[in-house]
């Protein structure tokens, strides 16, 4: 807690000192510093830094043009997200039906957001620019020669090289992750769904309604609360099982292969790795058909009489085993198939870790008469846990978001008979992410999808924070150095 308050007071201090510098610049700046409030290149122009002056002026003009040609179309409507629906109107001049000048709520939302971000960047540049102009004035008064443009540019290959390196990646991440994410977080507070699809119907802000609906509110007809609890429980159960089965399986398999007495280690490893080298959409779609209701496994099971036996003891009441089409069976099957997919990955990682085992410790333990199980339990396992502990957390989060396995195995073939779940487009086998995907792709229920996305984020963030704190706290850090 203390560090958090410290951090905040630090930020506060730096803002205050920045502001006081700013005030100083306003009060003591000369005419050109003051002029740079309007014309950002003024100070540079006065100090004969013409290229810089030109660049910053062009930047200012670009932002102004952006504001008055682009942003002005969208930002004023941000409060309502548009009011004019798309309609076709008869135009007496062209004698044809034409669309009116309509609004599109999502465009308004998205492009307003882009405008806000552009303005925020502009504001930062603007304030820093004024301060820099004042600095230039001080330098001149102290008789310091202004920096040459060439030297300035050279800095971007030297002390400011990180800016050169990071500019494009950060731009890409902003455009394709940050802006879309913020836009979808906004959508969680609107009523954007199938009944409100722009441009023929518009959507608008509804506050926390969607969250209330997901957590059980929203009237008797809404089953989202029920579906959410069911899906959430299965998501967590799945994540726990999927993470630990593959993790332990991977370590066991790796130590089995790594054993001194095993011949042809490379061959064994390669055999297992081949299964994950086949793209998942091929291998999983194949496995799905392998275990289909009329698939080969069912034929074999029927031939050996397994199906009759299962029917006799009441496990199934169909003429096939519903491996991936009924709850219970499907839940177990996806976890088993995930072991098939995940163990080779974990084995690869564990192999890397096991190669660096503290050999002296094992040797001395063996001299003291420890058997191989004791060594595994007391030396290998703690060491591996220490090294791969953080990765375990990432794996857990990745499994909460594990889209491929569930989607490829059950999409289009699994239908739920639970009416309450079906009403909110969920299935027993759905994880929160696959539910989210069905809601967006098949039902255009963007508002609930966005809320679920936020919930997934909160769960992942909490898991990460709690576990990381556990793992990094205490005096374990230097244990294996």
């Amino acid at each position: 807690m203390k560090t958090v308050t410290n951090k905040f007071s630090n930020i506060f201090d730096s803002i205050m000192s920045g502001l006081s510098k700013y005030k100083e610049a306003i009060v003591k700046g000369d005419l050109f510093v003051k002029l740079s409030f309007l014309w950002m290149g003024a100070g540079y122009f006065r100090r004969k830094q013409y290229i810089k002056s030109l660049i910053i002026t062009l930047f200012e003009i670009a932002v102004l043009v952006f504001t008055f040609t682009f942003a002005i179309q969208y930002v004023p409507k941000f409060g309502t997200l548009g009011t004019v629906k798309q309609e076709s109107v008869f135009n007496p001049i062209t004698m044809q039906k034409e669309f009116n000048n309509y609004d599109n709520s999502f465009q308004i939302l998205l492009f307003s957001l882009v405008s806000f971000i552009v303005w925020a960047i502009f504001l930062v540049v603007y304030i820093r620019n004024i301060y820099r102009q004042y600095q230039l004035q001080l330098d001149e008064q102290n008789g310091k020669a202004p920096e040459k443009f060439k030297d300035y540019m050279n800095k971007f290959l030297n002390s400011k090289f990180h800016i050169t390196l990071l500019a494009l990646p950060v731009l890409g991440i902003s455009l394709f992750i940050i802006i879309p994410l913020i836009a979808m977080i906004f959508v969680a507070f609107t009523n954007y769904d199938q009944k409100h699809m722009p441009p023929t119907e518009l959507f608008t802000w509804v506050g926390f309604n969607n969250f209330v609906q997901l957590f059980g509110g929203g009237g008797i007809t809404s089953t989202f609360g029920y579906a959410f609890v069911r899906v959430l429980i299965w998501t967590l159960v799945w994540a726990v099982f999927a993470t630990f089965t593959t993790y332990i399986g991977g370590i066991l398999l790796a130590s089995l292969i790594n054993n001194k007495r095993v011949k042809l280690k490379k061959m064994w490893r390669t055999l297992f790795v081949i299964t994950i080298a086949v793209p998942q959409f091929v291998s999983l779609l194949l496995v799905k058909n392998f275990f289909a209701d009329g698939g080969i496994v069912n034929t074999i099971c029927a031939n050996i009489g397994l199906i009759d036996w299962l029917r006799d003891i009441g496990m199934i009441n169909t003429t096939y085993i519903p491996f991936l089409t009924s709850p219970g069976w499907a839940h177990v099957m996806v976890i088993l198939i995930n072991i098939w997919v995940g163990v080779p990955y974990q084995m690869l990682i564990a192999t890397g870790v096991l190669m660096n085992l503290p050999n002296d410790q094992i040797e001395s333990a063996r001299m003291d008469g420890a058997n191989s199980f004791q060594i595994f339990r007391h030396i290998t396992m703690p060491y591996v846990l220490f090294i791969t502990g953080p990765a375990l957390v990432t794996d857990f989060v990745r499994n909460i978001n594990n889209f491929n396995v569930i989607f490829l195995l059950t999409n289009n073939t699994y239908t739920t008979s639970n009416q309450a779940l079906a009403n909110s487009q969920a299935k027993e086998i759905d994880l929160l992410v696959t539910w989210l995907f069905t809601l967006t792709r098949d039902n255009y229920n963007y508002k609930m999808a966005a809320v679920i996305g936020i919930v997934v984020f909160v769960i992942s963030a909490v898991c990460t924070l709690v576990v990381f704190k556990r793992l990094t706290s205490g005096d374990k850090e230097g244990a294996y150095r």
Binding site: Q107, L110, N154, L157, S159, F161, H162, L168, P169, G172, I173, F176, I177, I178, I179, L181, A183, M184, V187, R261, V262, K263, W268, L271, F272, V273, I274, T275, A277, V278, P279, Q280, F281, V282, S283, L285, L286, N289, F290, A292, G295, I296, N298, T299, W340, L348, G352, N401, F403, L408, V433, L436, F437, T440, Y446, A449, G453, F457, A461, T464
Partner: protein, 280 residues
């Protein structure tokens, strides 16, 4: 070395596990050589063997299967993605590993936070952004999606660069080398394993991705698709009985190059990680 009973047991157990793991793969290969077009549900191995699926897939394109164009599309997208992604990953890794600047920690924390959001959430908004740029149903749009965000996957490369001894870089600075020079002439040549790893792993993304590809290339013109969309479409309930064995043949055809790349990548991955441990 004397052969013990437990050794035989151990090898038998390994062989048993390997068998379980390989059954679906064997089935894939076997079915791809079947003469029958639909899914064979009565026997594990096909009743009649033939090369007809491969022949049809490669030389007799119809409205459903356009395997040669899918392969070409995916290959072009993969090459472009791999160049941009590798550059981005190396740039971010160097900046966060070898340079000390004010926003470093903040940026890295933002990166971790962004990874906690489910990727499918932002999908819709990404679609609208690309639509506004008129890049949907366009391979350039797909390349942008795959490569623009690749900078976030810098952590492994950063971990490797962390192990490049600081003294090497310091010596170069003393000789008057600029930061850019150190990047290009010292750190990059030393990061070979991790560069190979990054190149291959980013090359594989378009071959494996299915979600973003279906979302972006939704025009229904099958010659525009990538391999993943096309093969998945063959398993549509209406088409399954006509194309299942061709799907298997397609699966085998793309799995061969991908497996080879994957095996190479995995070697460099282990080298990248353990090599670092030796140096550090």
């Amino acid at each position: 070395m004397k052969i013990k009973f437990s050794d035989i047991l151990r090898h038998l157990f390994l062989a048993f596990l390997a068998l379980i793991w390989l059954i679906p793969i064997v089935w894939l290969v076997a079915t791809s050589f079947s003469k029958y077009t639909g899914m064979n549900t009565s026997t594990f191995f096909p009743e009649e063997w033939s090369l007809i699926n491969y022949k049809n897939l490669l030389f007799a394109s119809d409205s459903v299967t356009q395997f040669p164009s899918w392969f070409k599309n995916t290959f072009v997208i993969a090459c472009a993605t791999c160049v941009v992604s590798t550059a981005f990953v190396l740039m971010v890794a160097y900046a966060t590993s070898c340079m000390k600047f004010k926003m470093r920690k903040t940026l890295m924390n933002i990166g971790i936070t962004l990874n906690l959001f489910p990727a499918v959430l932002s999908m819709i908004a990404v679609y609208f952004i690309l639509k506004a740029l008129d890049l949907t149903n366009n391979h350039l749009g797909l390349i942008l999606i795959y490569s623009a965000t690749s900078g976030l996957g810098y952590l492994i490369a950063k971990g490797f660069m962390d192990t490049v001894p600081e003294s090497l870089r310091e010596a170069a600075y003393l000789d008057g080398a600029s930061e850019a020079r150190v990047f290009f002439t010292i750190v990059i040549p030393m990061s070979k394993p991790i560069i190979v790893y990054t190149i291959i792993s980013s090359f594989l993304v378009p071959w494996m991705d299915f979600v973003f590809a279906t979302l972006m290339l939704n025009s229904g013109i099958s010659s525009n698709w990538t391999v993943a969309i096309g093969l998945n479409n063959m398993l549509d309930r209406m088409l399954l009985n006509q194309y299942f064995t061709q799907f298997c043949a397609g699966g085998v055809l793309i799995s061969i190059p991908i497996s080879i790349l994957f095996l190479i990548m995995q070697k460099f991955y282990v080298e990248g990680i353990t090599g670092g441990a030796v140096k550090g």
